[in-house]
Symmetry: C2
Subunit: 127 residues, 2 copies
Amino acid sequence: MNYSRQREYIKEYLMSTKEHPTAEVIYQNVREEYPKISLGTVYRNLTLLVELGEVKKISTGDGTEHYDADTSAHSHYYCRCCHRIMDVEITPSVDQILAASSTGLGTVEQASLLFTGVCKDCMDNGK
Amino acid sequence: MNYSRQREYIKEYLMSTKEHPTAEVIYQNVREEYPKISLGTVYRNLTLLVELGEVKKISTGDGTEHYDADTSAHSHYYCRCCHRIMDVEITPSVDQILAASSTGLGTVEQASLLFTGVCKDCMDNGK
DNA sequence: ATTATATAGATAATCATTATTGATTTTGCT
DNA sequence: AGCAAAATCAATAATGATTATCTATATAAT
């Protein structure tokens, strides 16, 4: 695989933010540095980065995928109102992963824990 | 909310299967009983059933949502090859849920644990 | 049974994502 | 440095999943 500054910058941007942006949001931000970049390039490179394991894709069921360059073991809190994702310093336990592995279903490459609810901000603004 | 036999049957079908079908698969199956039903009706009712808490939506990031009428506490194993979902009798621990609640991020309505890998069938068929 | 409202069915529209294509950039070699 | 081959880009078209719209039908209450 060849080097690409666009891909480099996409990852840089992802590492610089605590948000868990969608491809569209990433596109808007990367555009400030590379005004000519196209949305397809963002998608292509996000897919590559995910395959390389440098970025994680977070699926919440809200219709778009979110991305996170923090690959350390942590989980996410998803607000079903504002669709934001926050980090939670909780991880699937070793026991849980071992238990899943020993079911014999197949390899366990990833274990992810997602909490869903309504965040404080949304509750304060009545919802 | 009014009663609807179509909605009733969608739930019946979902309860009758161990698969975790997509809207499209549900549509194909419900069509055998209600040949005139339309895909939009399936989506509309799935959304309603999820809102009622009678059905759960499972997001794997494979491009389509899967549905499950088994609302008991359990987790899922997702094969990234064949895109099938299997049940795993492991649940997020009370400790994990309490810990998530006590972060103060917001309410915790749901905690879901997803294991991803390559299932046995796919490995046997070399992939 | 009549009437009001919710849902169905058909279809069009939208939105996210992927594929295609020709131009440009990067790499590896001399 | 200069050049050919391969990879990536930008632009855009295509696809696929999901949602919205609109008229007809089914449901529920009187």
